[in-house]
Symmetry: D2
Subunit: 314 residues, 4 copies
């Protein structure tokens, strides 16, 4: 396994892309092109398809294959493509990696197999098995809110020794976990840690993380890229200024409708309102109420979303 050149220095913002869908639940290829071009034009450092935000497990295998092929074609090596291959079955995970490899993706991202409880020693053996079966480098994906399995710090440290395992995306939102992990990873510069929840991305980068895999960057790539760069440069004043926009996104936009699982629905509605793709989600899916769509519109208007705009508004 060779780590591709474009990946070696991967830091920064890697948005977990939504999967644009047509009304009959096929990939909306034109929307996908607009979306990928939108985030690359916004300066992102990579893209991640088939993550939680990409509705990974809801999509049929044919659809997932289509997502991988088109993502690699559209990105066209402008930025690295990371592919989520998380699945409940190890065989299907490996099959997806083969497709990703053939299509020219740069890496895969894999969460613990969900549904069953998994012990930490089983988890480590799982990552070892994957690493020996796969051609592409692997990012671990800690997503306990969905998989119900927390990849322990000890397991991450052990897995970081496996050839082919090159980093972690942590979406636990557990700052204590990240802090301890970064503390214990000191000296391992080649093992990269990305953080999922955009609310704490800047603090995590200040604490030592290598970047963010932040859903909001689907809509506002520049905001997150600028915030990342401010944090990486230690420009604390600019971090404060931009962080307020992110907190505003989190406390206003993502709370529209008030339900737990609305994040992807809201992202897709916002992208729809920006003319990028349709709002459809994979099933089971109940469309947003008109009043909620109006609320999304209202909040989007109230956001000033790039450092340039913000400075302009000051």
């Amino acid at each position: 396994m060779k780590i591709s050149r474009s990946l070696q220095g991967l830091n920064g913002i890697v948005p977990p892309l939504v999967t644009p869908l047509t009304l009959d639940m096929q990939l909306d290829v034109s929307g996908f092109e607009k979306l990928i071009n939108h985030v690359i034009d916004g300066g992102v450092h990579g893209i991640f398809v088939l993550g939680t935000t990409g509705e990974l497990s809801r999509l049929s295998y044919d659809l997932r294959k289509s997502v991988i092929e088109h993502a690699c074609r559209i990105a066209n090596k402008r930025v690295p493509v990371l592919v989520g291959v998380t699945d409940t079955s190890i065989d299907e995970t490996i099959r997806l990696e083969k497709i990703a490899h053939e299509c020219g993706a740069e890496a895969v991202v894999v969460a613990p197999p969900f549904y069953y409880h998994v012990e930490q020693d089983e988890l480590l053996s799982y990552f070892e098995e994957l690493a020996s079966a796969m051609d592409l480098p692997i990012y671990l994906y800690n997503m306990p809110a969905r998989t119900k399995i927390h990849i322990s710090i000890d397991t991450v440290l052990k897995a970081s020794e496996i050839e082919g395992v090159i980093g972690l995306k942590d979406s636990s939102g557990d700052f204590f976990y990240l802090q301890e992990l970064l503390f214990k990873l000191k000296g391992k510069k080649d093992f990269k840690v990305f953080v999922g929840p955009e609310e704490i991305m800047a603090q995590c980068v200040l604490t030592g993380c290598d970047g963010g895999v932040n859903g909001g960057a689907n809509i506002f790539p520049e905001l997150f890229v600028e915030l990342y760069e401010a944090a990486a440069a230690g420009d604390f004043q600019l971090v404060k200024l931009l962080q307020d926009q992110v907190t505003h996104l989190s406390t206003a936009l993502y709370k529209v409708g008030g339900k737990q699982a609305n994040f992807i629905k809201i992202l897709k509605e916002a992208l729809h309102q920006k003319g990028i793709c349709g709002p459809q989600m994979a099933k089971p899916y109940i469309p947003m109420h008109e009043s909620e769509r109006q609320e999304v519109k209202r909040v989007l208007k109230s956001l000033a979303l790039s450092a340039t705009e913000i400075k302009h508004n000051l």
Copy 2:
């Protein structure tokens, strides 16, 4: 959709079969034959493949297809075959049902799509969509410990009105839930309720449940059949006698090793010791320690497991 004759009066014990595997992770056809013959000879009223005990989500689609085909062939209409088609993707769930239908299975069993949070109204729309797309009758499958979604009583009541939805398998272990549900289902004789956890099967049947989908019946089908029949007949003294054996199974056999996820591992080891199939599980899988295997052996010996044996032992 027609409900098959053999299914109409389905009550009793429907073991959720383990999936016997070869060392290279194929279906152990010979072991599967022994297992199915063993439980049918033991008097079970139906069999259920690709449930949680059958390692549903861990198996590749090719393997799941193979399980369905062989189960139907081996059962050969001696008892109804229920097929678990639970999946994260609605398309794959429907595809599995098509296979089950073609192979001659009598019904499918489906839990909520897991990984993402699902609201109750989304869940109901999901069951409606499935019912309209499927040929076989459907049992809902409430398994909150694994899916993290509780099918609410209200949703079950509404779903029980959908044509094609004919029952519920509840594995919540929540006696209050079952009690309230049975209370509110009164009068709906055609909607069947089966209970998963074997520890409370008899009490649930006494309270109004129609049967049990109990893992222990893989090993000891007679015990569960006799216990079910005693409960259904209101023979409280015999229930007490047999229940002690089930409690003993639960408090001794299933606690070997002391870990949360060992239930299937222990079932397979016990079946291995009885000469029915190998102990292999799907990955990630770490084999049982030799000391634990000895403990399984010791506990199995200590069990007197049919009413006949028990009465003999008195």
Copy 3:
């Protein structure tokens, strides 16, 4: 420590009494008299004051002392009085027991000290310390929903060996726990197990419990006494008939208002409507909405509540 004669054979229904309060948060002595007479007239086998239903921890120590004195005076040895002495501080728990002893109570009931996490070995040492410091016999009180500490089966078994520890009230609602505990306590006839949640009281008595500490018996003592006696006698048909009334209470009355913590508020409102005591609760307390009071009235009317009435209604 001597076990009082009246306690030795204690089985049956021991209602956890609400604490009637005046508008200025003193004990409503007249209401308390009516309540205690009401339940004793209804046939209960003992009374339990200062349990969870009695708002134990919300009451000042002066008020708790008053509750103990008046309960013993009013009961006047007609039935045993059990006193909840659960507290966060071991010193205050022992102080409350001294008061209970002086007033003539028959036993105390004690849950783990809450707020801090407690390990099982600490818990056992706590019960040992209490038993050596107290004059009255002790019932352990397992109430994990409130204390956040589950008294493990192993700890109960060990504590059952301590002189002075004579039983357990289990309010976990965990049927598996109770079943395993009763299985492992076999032969220890002197250690009594009472069950808290009224919904499962009859099933638990059928399984081997000695009685119920059921909140609903504040309002309908006869119903619970008759149900207990039917279960103890193995009269399964009568159990079924009466159980439906209990399930109706649980699914209709206790869900008025739809909030988690309304159980005591609803009990007190129902007692108020029956002319027994006022609806006031200890602070923080927000009175029931008028619409909810009407709903309580409506549900109360719909209940037929003794076997006599039920048979009459048939």
Copy 4:
């Protein structure tokens, strides 16, 4: 209610003091003097007695009274004294505040009444009732891990309008909560927010918090004072340097013994080893194993604990 002069500008480190105890469970007055002098000499900005670290609920009322009296006497107005008056009974909470007021404490700190579930509207009415009954200014105390009740952001915002409520100590460890709260409190400079978990104190101060109530400051007051001051001054390089020591404390010292509830035990053992007070805790208490004490000793030695020392060590 007047806010005392010393309190108006209270920012910085306010250690939640442990309560030194003699072998017969009385206040170890001499140890308490050493402890208070130790932290004041270390530069702390206030002290907080009878918090969670002070074993609040485990202590008898007589002992709590003694703690308050001695703390005020020893502090002798060198720094403000904050007193925890959290209790399950509102009457006892108010009684404790009267004692604190008479002894000359500057403020009280109060968590939701625990044991029972409390709705947010009940919680707000509780804080209103307390504010009208108390003479001293009040800090709210959010401690969901122990009280099982999260003071919602909305409730904090409403409570911040109550006269007499002057701040919040948040021990949720939920960075998202704190971030949103600080965002919504903007402009309310008089409402102070302190953070409990020392691991995230510096990040929280960088984000806008006013200080830390950090248990580790019992042992190493200078470290926390210097870290706070570095964060308040935006000296990001010094924050990084000192934060590593705090993370080391958290990942090494506080994990000795591996149990959940060992934090106070470890603090007291470390203070014992530093010659400040004995290791005794309130009951139920099982002393530390000798091997754990040696481990505490080993970790303490490995820590370089002030910026001066750290810079010296570089």
